[in-house]
């Protein structure tokens, strides 16, 4: 399937041209900065939860870490929106690069693991349980691997693309 007409159309929209071409710092630079801040909080808190499950800071009741879950989701949605804006800016650059789909897949699996881990450890009836079960620990290791992969894939997008725009 040839998606070039779609890419050409998207790149011709006013929003896309503003994101890429505007000299304003609130266009491309600000969107990138927001995307990095969202990453720091969303991925960072997930890493902290994984570390806690793997035995770091044993005095913290794992179930209490659920208080940070809303922040992960706020940061995730900030990044979903800023990510879509970056995608509208350079659709060809991302959509013609397999690494972009790998990044999305790793984020998807990472979020799935996050909610699966959450269902097992954020339950109040878990009581004073301080150590996570081996199953949850394995999920936490997988989660760590997914986030390391997603962040790395995201960074490599700047180096692995074949076409920058539909015309180029």
């Amino acid at each position: 399937m040839n998606i070039d007409p779609f890419l050409l159309w998207l790149e011709s929209t006013a929003l896309s041209q503003w994101i890429v071409g505007s000299p304003s710092m609130f266009a491309f630079p600000a969107i990138l900065a927001v995307h990095a801040i969202g990453m720091g909080f969303a991925v960072g808190i997930c890493l902290a939860l994984d570390l806690r499950i793997l035995g770091v800071a044993p005095g913290v009741r794992i179930a209490e870490m659920r208080r940070f879950v809303p922040i992960v989701w706020i940061a995730f949605w900030i990044n979903a929106i800023s990510g879509v804006l970056l995608l509208i800016g350079y659709p060809t650059k991302a959509l013609t690069n397999p690494v972009f789909y790998l990044k999305l897949l790793l984020i998807g699996v990472g979020l799935w693991l996050f909610s699966r881990i959450g269902r097992r450890v954020f339950d109040e009836t878990a009581g004073e349980q301080r150590a996570a079960s081996p199953i949850v620990q394995r999920l936490a290791i997988l989660s760590l691997a997914c986030w390391v992969g997603a962040v790395t894939a995201g960074r490599l997008l700047a180096y692995t693309y074949h076409r920058l725009t539909a015309l180029g």
Binding site: A33, I37, L47, R52, V60, L156
Partner: protein, 189 residues
């Protein structure tokens, strides 16, 4: 004087950089950048989470218990200071004359001094004989400054690309050079 120090640093780093060759291989720079972003996540995930606890999220978690995450946040900082140094030692003029880098450095210094203030002032109060579940106002202020400073560090880091220093035209009057002095000016001193 600061101007001379900047020129001296750039000149000497270019002449003697131990890592520039490795960083200029196909994967050197991209791998260092990926590590830099992962360190960022670790720093925000551990130090930011502790700051949020001081600010009142997850109040039932003892502050001292939460504090055990801090060494991992410091590990994130060390990872980023090291990978950041790799960039600086490869393209020194892109950072030493970059106003965004000057601000990034300033906010890192503020975050560092702020953390120092925490351990000198609120630390005893929070981890002493009667650890309160609600942090004192002073500690909350420090936590808010910490979060703000690290967010500003990220913003300045991301802005580096957009403030790449150009060669200087005319006299520099600012505190720090924000463009690369033309080579003939360097030798005219």
């Amino acid at each position: 004087m600061l101007h001379d120090l900047q020129v001296w640093l750039v000149t000497n780093i270019i002449a003697h950089s131990p890592v520039a060759h490795m960083m200029r291989t196909a994967w050197g720079w991209p791998i260092a950048e990926s590590i830099h972003f992962l360190g960022l996540c670790l720093l925000i995930g551990c130090i930011g989470t502790f700051d949020l606890r001081l600010l009142g999220i997850a109040k039932r978690v003892p502050i001292a218990a939460m504090h055990r995450l801090i060494p991992w946040g410091i590990l994130g900082f060390v990872i980023n200071a090291s990978s950041g140094l790799m960039f600086l030692l490869t393209e020194p003029d892109q950072y030493i004359y970059n106003p965004s880098f000057h601000f990034k450095f300033l906010f890192i210094a503020i975050a560092g001094l702020n953390a120092g203030t925490f351990y000198l002032s609120s630390y005893r109060q929070i981890f002493g004989a009667n650890p309160s579940l609600d942090a004192p106002l002073r500690a909350k202020l420090i936590a808010a400054i910490s979060l703000s400073a690290w967010v500003l560090v990220i913003i300045c880091g991301r802005m580096l690309t957009f403030y790449r220093p150009a060669p200087c035209i005319g006299q520099q009057t600012s505190l720090l050079l924000t463009c690369a002095p033309a080579p003939e000016k360097r030798t005219s001193h």
